[in-house]
């Protein structure tokens, strides 16, 4: 196991030991035939068949995409909503590594892991939607930089941010492999990766909204404004944190044997803290939405069907959960906070789909409705992500880890050591 440490290791023996360790770790832990495994496994197998059809017959074979609606569920939900949900990673990283709020340290790894996997799978789902995915390297290798494109920025930021998130998470991998010296090097890179990652997140969370700036005549006026980038950025804060709360409540049940003592003891406190931040972000978001609405003089649309839909989104799934969040942390009611998180997540799904799918070409005679096959592939992407998430949680120190070695805590301990000496 000690590939790096120890006096002059016999490399070949080490490699053998490493191979055995990996084989051991690759094996599934726990029973194979659980309802979850059977269902998700069936979904993944089915979607493999569907994707084979998609790659041999073309996108039209399994999707309802058309010349009028070039972007459907796979972009609107998988990529644009998925990335908003992954926003928790940059917010938590900001609070822990930049603001030094040690309270949130116990959830930093699971959140970054979640964010990283979300990017790998949901942004990876972009490849399924690309008509000519073999050319995906073109904007990377430099033979054709479309630098005036918002999508160019988003693509690059996805890649760089995945890398930054991997660096942020890598100490857990190094600890799992027992590479102590590597762990130290990686740990020292955390602050840099955090700063870089937050910067990238600000830009591409808003950039996803900026994608629709040129579709100004196609997106319904209630959802289109030149402030989409800012609205997307602000909403990604509570979208991400709500997912952290929601995911945490499930993770703690399913993986309770992996949860560390410190996290178990402080989780309620963490959730209340997050609820407060969410409520704050949601009120800022609501205020911004109202400003956009009044400034854009959108009154005339309120009486229409989509107007009610718009009100439902903003009142039912932003204002109400914001109120529930406040009630939850004031009265110390974690279940209420969880309900608020679930509602807020629905609100984000609604908002992103309203911009990208439901409100897109709202005037068209023929509306886009995804096929069941598009939905199955989306579910398969989520299932695959959950499988990898479970695999990592069950093996690496994610929910229970030594916080003393990284960032602020380390320095504080060093100081403490000096003071004590």
């Amino acid at each position: 196991m000690h590939l790096v440490d120890g006096p002059r290791p016999d490399l070949r023996a080490e490699a053998r030991r490493f191979g055995r360790f990996m084989l051991q770790e690759l094996k599934p832990k726990g029973p194979l035939l659980t309802p979850f495994n059977v269902i998700t496994g069936a979904i993944i197998l089915l979607s493999a068949v569907l994707l084979t059809i998609r790659f041999t017959k073309g996108l039209g074979a399994i999707t309802n995409l058309s010349q009028d609606v070039p972007w459907g569920l796979w972009i609107g939900f998988d990529v644009i909503t998925g990335v908003a949900f992954a926003g928790g990673a940059y917010v938590i990283v900001f609070m822990v590594y930049i603001m030094g709020q040690e309270k949130y340290h116990p959830i930093v790894r699971v959140t970054v892991l979640n964010g990283f996997l979300a990017y790998v799978f949901y942004a990876g789902a972009l490849l399924l939607d690309l008509g000519r995915p073999w050319n995906v390297i073109n904007p990377v290798i430099g033979n054709s930089f479309g630098v005036s494109s918002v999508l160019f920025l988003v693509a690059w930021h996805f890649m760089l941010y995945m890398f930054a998130q991997f660096v942020e998470f890598s100490p857990a991998v190094a600890e799992w492999l027992g590479w102590k010296r590597v762990r130290k090097v990686l740990g020292a890179m955390t602050l840099g990766a955090a700063i870089f990652g937050i910067t990238l997140s600000i830009l591409h969370q808003s950039g996803l909204g900026a994608l629709y700036l040129m579709a100004r005549d196609k997106v319904h006026p209630l959802w289109y404004s030149e402030f989409i980038p800012i609205l997307f950025l602000v909403s990604s804060i509570f979208a991400g944190l709500s997912l952290v709360i929601f995911e945490g409540s499930i993770t703690h049940k399913v993986f309770h044997h992996r949860v560390g003592r410190r996290l178990a003891a402080t989780h309620g406190d963490i959730v209340r803290g997050l609820a407060r931040i969410c409520a704050g972000a949601m009120f800022v978001y609501l205020f911004a939405q109202i400003l956009v609405f009044v400034h854009g003089q959108r009154w005339e649309y309120l009486g229409t069907g989509l107007g009610w839909w718009y009100l439902l989104e903003l009142v039912g799934f932003v204002a109400v959960p914001a109120g529930l969040y406040i009630y939850g942390f004031r009265n110390n009611r974690v279940p209420v906070i969880r309900v608020a998180a679930a509602l807020a997540l629905v609100g984000i799904v609604l908002n992103r789909l309203n911009v990208t799918v439901i409100g897109f070409k709202w005037y068209a005679a023929q509306r886009y409705v995804p096929t069941w096959m598009e939905i199955v592939v989306t579910l398969a992407v989520i299932s695959a992500e959950l499988w990898v998430f479970r695999w990592v949680i069950n093996r690496m120190p994610v929910l229970d880890f030594d916080m003393s070695e990284s960032g602020h805590a380390q320095e504080r301990e060093e100081r403490a050591g000096v003071v004590a000496a």
Binding site: F55, T56, K57, G58, L59, G60, S66, Q67, D68, P70, W71, F94, Y97, M99, G100, L126, D129, L130, G131, R132, N135, N138, S144, F145, G146, V147, S148, S149, V150, L151, L153, W156, M189, L191, G192, A194, I195, F196, I198, T199, I202, L203, S206, G207, A210, L211, Y212, L213, M214, A215, D217, K218, E226, P229, H408, E411, R412, E414, R415, V419
Partner: protein
């Protein structure tokens, strides 16, 4: 990047001097800030790349080519459709069509002529890519597959395109069409017969027009001609050349006897070039990339200093 390093170095130095005695507590981690500085430097590089992104005007706009469509001369014979198909190796359009059905261009038919019942009777309008002077599709394309050639035609380059269809989302005229039924799909649209233009020929549709409804030339001259026609027959035309200012100007220009919305042309798209709508956002990118990292670093340092101070205070009391 080196310049930036120096600045930051100096900044750090000053901070050190000012903080004086406390500085010892910071235990300056050289590597630590070097990393951040390098990240910032990388960001700056990316930023300069973005700056350079602004489309360079290789040729003055006045030298661009153009096509003038005079809908009063069009008899709806659809010869242009057939000429287009022949020139671009597309399947021949159907001979018999239902004139009442409004047709749109498709992946294998790059131009269509539709019949419109207007207040002045029947008017035919040819429809194809407008070849904007500042095309939304080209500015949306992250691989420069959609590309505006210096003389005007907006072309699509197969080897670069990754099929993301952002051009379709962005185009104000919904022109680019995607082959949904192909495993090797292409984006299809009128290329203004770019290869024919290189050989000094006219676009196929213009060459095939028997009535002179289409006229090819320099855009500047065609605009003069269009105004001239309106001037000499003010009762015959609406006093506007569609495409002169729409979305920042288009290569294709239309004259019409009736308001243009009666010919199915969007009149609500404004005169602003579409790339302008994302320009502000793209300008903000280098700013955020360069300003956010040092700000975050400073914030992290500040919060750490506070923590250390608090701990020391506690330690002192004990």
């Amino acid at each position: 990047m080196t310049g930036l390093c120096h600045v930051t170095q100096r900044g750090e130095g000053r901070a050190k001097q000012e903080s004086g005695g406390e500085e010892k507590g910071f235990r300056m981690k050289r590597r630590d800030w070097l990393k951040t500085v390098c990240a910032t430097g990388g960001a700056t590089l990316a930023a300069t790349g973005l700056r350079a992104a602004e489309p360079a005007e290789a040729q003055p706009v006045s030298d661009r080519v153009g096509v003038l469509v005079d809908t009063t001369k069009c008899i709806g014979c659809r010869m242009c459709e057939f000429a287009c198909a022949r020139a671009n190796d597309l399947p021949e359009p159907e001979q018999q069509i239902d004139r009442a059905v409004r047709r749109d261009t498709t992946p294998d038919q790059w131009t269509v002529v539709n019949r419109y019942e207007t207040e002045q009777g029947v008017v035919y309008r040819k429809q194809q890519c407008m070849h904007c002077l500042q095309p939304a599709c080209a500015s949306a394309c992250l691989t420069k597959a959609m590309y505006r050639t210096p003389d005007g035609p907006v072309i699509w380059r197969e080897s670069k395109c990754m099929g993301c269809r952002f051009c379709m989302v962005s185009c104000p005229f919904d022109v680019p069409k995607f082959e949904y039924d192909s495993p090797v799909p292409k984006i299809q649209k009128c290329q203004l017969c770019w290869s024919r233009l290189q050989e000094g020929e006219q676009p196929a549709c213009v060459a095939g027009c028997p009535t002179g409804a289409l006229k090819f030339g320099k855009r500047r001259d065609l605009l003069d001609e269009a105004r001239d026609r309106i001037y000499h027959a003010p009762d015959k035309y609406v006093h506007h050349v569609y495409g002169e200012g729409e979305v920042g100007g288009t290569t294709w220009l239309y004259l019409s006897p009736v308001p243009f919305d009666q010919l199915g042309l969007r009149t609500d798209i404004g005169n602003t070039a579409f790339p302008t709508y994302t320009r502000e956002f793209l300008y903000a990118v280098p700013l955020v990339l360069t300003l956010a990292p040092p700000f975050l670093l400073a914030l992290s340092r500040a919060s750490r200093a506070r923590e250390v101070a608090e701990e020391e205070g506690e330690g002192g009391e004990a």
